[in-house]
Amino acid sequence: MTTKKFMFVNRKAPYGTVYALESLEVVLITAAFDQDVSLVFMDDGVYQLKKGQQTKGIEHKNFSPTYRALEGYDIEKLYVDRESMTARSLTEDDLLVPVTVLSRDQLTSLFEEQDVVLSF
């Protein structure tokens, strides 16, 4: 089967809307099709990776452990926008998983080399 470069751009915070959760479902399926999968977290999307999410009070399913499981599906290209982290005072220590922090210029290049870009 053809292998294409799929990039998933996560720009929304978790729980306020369903996009982060349902995006993860697409990511897992795409990996199962042996595609080249990249995840980008920018703007409020960086909050998806925040450690310490406790969803009992809002009675939502806490899906943040799934990010830790991505490695098991060979999804290892996790990119985070540096400026989005800074505007939210987040550091790599605040995140659930190891990520590659990119500048805006690096992100621009990454976008341009993709075949399919899905934004959630």
């Binding site: 729980y15 306020g16 809307t17 369903v18 809002i58 009675e59 939502h60 399913k61």
Partner: protein, 119 residues
């Protein structure tokens, strides 16, 4: 105190319906009355009896139905908004009823506070 509640987004896509539900439960626990929850815009989709969320997630529609059953909360779905979006008696969950926008204005007049939850 008597509260009216308005819910403007459907289940799961936005947290609005969740927060509205938690607000209602807390208000009842405080001894207040929730006179009516009015579902407008995509909020009418909270009334679909056909939803089947995954086992490990909350069931938004059933929670509303249970609130109606246990506390007599009047769950009203706007008929015009519901027709646009395919909510009818045939797929209406227990505890909900379909009626006009006048039901929203009425609760706005009669309740001490009307609290809106949306996107």
């Amino acid at each position: 105190m008597k509260f009216g509640i308005m819910v403007n987004e459907g289940p799961y896509q936005h947290q609005a319906s969740d927060t509205a539900y938690q607000f209602c439960r807390a208000a009842i626990a405080r001894g207040h009355t929730v006179q009516r929850v009015f579902f407008y815009h995509d909020g009418v989709n909270n009334a679909s009896r056909l939803t089947e969320p995954p086992q490990d997630d909350r069931n938004v529609v059933q929670r509303w139905s249970k609130l109606a059953e246990e506390h007599g909360v009047d769950l009203v779905v706007c008929v015009a908004a519901a027709l646009r979006r395919g909510i009818k008696d045939e797929n209406l969950a227990p505890g909900f009823r379909i009626s006009g926008l006048g039901q929203l204005v009425e609760v706005g007049i009669q309740a001490d506070r009307l609290v809106v939850f949306g996107d």
